[in-house]
Symmetry: C2
């Protein structure tokens, strides 16, 4: 594929000058339009060392309003990044709606440099292809425009450029032993790049190959493609053209919550005895997962007043606070709203060796956002797969995933609401919204059933916790956490 | 000081049980009050290894609403942190208004561990004392409540605890060679701690020494102090008691901008010639500062339509985008508003070896925020010193600091406004607000004069750029950047 490309293309200085100014103005204008329409833009530059990514990016950004973009240069992962799934650091760099992230090398490093330099196992870069496709699809479905450029030069040209840098005193330090090694490995890289282009090209997000022997030719080509794709996207948005797949799901008709036995209970004495048995173990396990660098994600969902807070407290009571974090999920703030709904959860993923407890989760998408119509029907329908895919990515990264649904019945909820209302130091726990949600009990129960049905996977199964008896619920949750971690060790 | 403390204090189990529940309820209530009043809380735990910080923090947070706090455990600085001023990573962890950050070890590591283990020079930890005082004062003046606990045990007790951990299979890995070394170095640490307590105690933010031999005694003492200080703060806020120093400044009467010569100019040819001379040099310098890990901060302020954007473009035109970033400063967003006004600028400080260009800066505090009354008079008056202190901290960390004021006269501004209004692709650059600001020309000019007068320091001097001639202005800025970096090399 790459070998048949004509790399001799060039453009003369006068023609360049004549064209470039108009293109710069045009792109500046489109950038402002995209901003008004709140289109998030992701621009990816990949390609050979010394192919001129830096220069091309600089030519590009000089025409842009600096308030609208940010350039991210790929560097060695920091410790924070190293101990998280490899896509984590790219999720963190995604643009707000209306803004632009420009990546100077990107997530494709996983299937190129890390592969060729044998930094990861074949299994991992093969998996990375799947994860990259999921990642890009999720972003495109959310309205992002992704433009990918592959800057191409041949082995001789690369060598020539290294030599030129090397001969100049001011720049010679920039050419490292590794660069020369990469030049020798040109063919290995070629294989990896060919595979990358083949594997990710027929997808929803095409590669644009830029012949980069001549800087001026390359610059104009980048501008032209950028302008064309952005114009197309802007038109689609203006014309409200639906570019995402329409999701149809099989009819759902499987009662789940109504089948469970809520009479299960423990006495205070039984609870105390069981709790004492677990408490040493949980702290030991916390240290073990730290030593083995296993990340743990515990997700809590449940009816209002089902006792999530108290339940979480019993999980953490004997833990070392350096090893766990409770992450409460409230309504999204401005910045969170300006991103993909999964963005804020990605940010909060635990470092390998640590435990994160989410008090409410991404399942809000198919519960409150569905029922209250905060997102479109197609959005929440699509999200079952998005969430399953995301949990699969975590599973690939070695996560222990525990998902709790805390269930109480309608009478028990009423009793607890009234108790909260009548106990001065508990009143803050009950709001008008809780009462409103209660009126929609049946609608919610149906949405929960469907959620459990569609997202109960082998790698991230749901645990339904019968919670009419708080004692019973706390011990069941505690034991489930212990078992899930032990299974992974 | 520490040697006279009675470490034998303890509390029996029954009394503890009797008291703790009430204290937990009380603290939970106060936390909710503080949240409503938008008081930011900073809790610091320092003290000996094995003094029980983890356990005490866990006892504390179990009584809190998890939606309100975050625990930060001090770890080795990450690469991102290592290449920035040492306070950077703590600025990043400050709570939003109404929330709480709990620090398990903190900025005091600089004057304790890093000092005793000879990781830094004496000059640096001596400076750190000054920087810490500035940091805490700035936060307190902004309405933060800082509560600092020092957990104290003696050398024998520490040894005993290490032994106990060491003898238990599940915990023995936690006791490292370094811990034993620290126990041997108990006296060196004692000296450092004594000095820390002496140097930072008479300040605005007292240390609370917690006798930690007995966990129950220590827990109750921590709760009591926490409750007392938080109650006091809540009352102060409710009663609108002014707790910050009232700033009085000498009368200001020094015309500055009216004295400069705005007729300075360059022809297009002169400009092109000068620019060509500079363009190689700027790229070379960008690489040099990268190699020497020097951080560079270039700050742009100026009249509306003075040409900041175009000026910045000429600085960056020949740079490698991997080495610099342009950071446009707009009106603060929700999250930024919920923090100290300096917070968002700290977040954006460049890594050592990189260049950050701020398009508008923290000087907004004494310009737009002053003139439009977005902050109180006492706030902006105090901020001259806060900004000078902050720039001094950057200077201590080896920053090159360049500050530009781009000045044009009133007629030139009118000409440019009209031109923007009449050129289709420039119209987006001019808003109603620009015209409104123009009506306040004299008020702004006076505020700018005072700003330059009060913040023109030896370590961060202002460069006034005569900008009626864009060519002249661009070359002056470019040369100033080059000179400032060369001076530091």
């Amino acid at each position: 594929m790459l070998e048949n490309i004509d790399l001799s293309k060039e453009m003369d200085k006068n023609k360049y000058k004549q064209i470039i100014e108009k293109l710069e103005l045009k792109l500046g204008e489109l950038q402002r339009n995209a901003r008004e329409l709140k289109i998030p833009l992701i621009i990816v530059f990949e390609g050979w060392d010394a192919a001129g990514k830096g220069t091309l990016i600089n030519n590009l950004i000089l025409s842009l309003d600096p308030r609208g973009f940010k350039v991210y240069t790929k560097t060695e992962p920091t410790e924070e990044e190293y101990y998280r799934p490899f896509l984590w650091r790219f999720w963190n760099k995604l643009p707000s709606k209306g803004l632009m992230s420009i990546f100077d090398r990107s997530w494709y490093g996983r299937v190129i440099e890390e592969r060729v330099d044998n930094e990861i196992k074949e299994k991992d870069w093969q998996l990375a292809y799947e994860e990259i496709k999921i990642f890009e699809k999720q972003l495109i479905d959310d309205g992002n425009l992704i433009i990918k450029f592959f800057l191409h030069i041949d082995k001789k040209e690369q060598k020539k450029r290294f030599k030129k840098l090397d001969e100049n005193k001011a720049t010679s330090w920039r050419v490292t032993k590794e660069d020369w090694k990469h030049n020798e490995q040109y063919d290995d890289y070629l294989t990896a790049y060919e595979e990358m282009l083949k594997k990710t090209n027929p997808s929803i997000c095409q590669w644009n190959i830029i012949e980069s022997t001549d800087e001026k030719f390359a610059t104009i080509k980048v501008f032209n493609i950028f302008i064309e794709m952005l114009e197309q996207k802007i038109n689609d948005v203006k014309n409200k053209k639906i570019t995402t797949e329409i999701i149809t799901l099989d009819k759902f008709d499987t009662p789940i919550l109504s089948k469970i036995d809520l009479s299960k209970m423990l006495t205070k004495e039984e609870y105390q005895e069981e709790f004492d048995k677990c408490k040493e173990r949980i702290r030991e396990l916390e240290y073990k997962i730290y030593k083995k660098r296993i990340p743990v994600l515990i997700m809590y969902e449940g009816c209002d007043a089902a006792g999530k807070g108290g339940n979480i407290k019993r999980i953490t009571k004997n833990m070392d606070p350096r090893g766990y974090e409770v992450i409460p999920i409230a309504a999204p703030n401005d910045i969170e709203k300006a991103h993909h709904y999964l963005w804020r959860f990605w940010q909060q993923l635990p470092k390998a060796g640590h435990i994160a407890i989410f008090d409410r989760t991404w399942y809000g998408r198919v519960l409150v956002e569905r029922v209250e119509k905060f997102c479109s029907e197609n959005d929440w329908k699509r999200s079952y797969k998005e969430i399953n895919d995301t949990e699969a990515i975590l599973d690939n990264s070695g996560f222990v995933i525990v998902k709790f649904w805390l269930q109480i019945d309608k009478e028990e909820q009423l009793k607890r609401f009234n108790e909260r209302q009548n106990t001065p130091y508990k009143q803050w726990k009950i709001t008008e919204e809780d009462w409103r949600n209660r009126e929609k009990w049946d609608i919610y129960q149906n949405a929960i059933d469907e959620m459990i049905f569609r997202t109960n996977t082998s790698y991230a199964p749901w645990t339904i916790v019968e919670s009419n008896s708080k004692y019973y619920a706390r011990i069941k949750a505690l034991k489930t956490v212990i078992d899930s971690i032990e299974k992974k060790l």
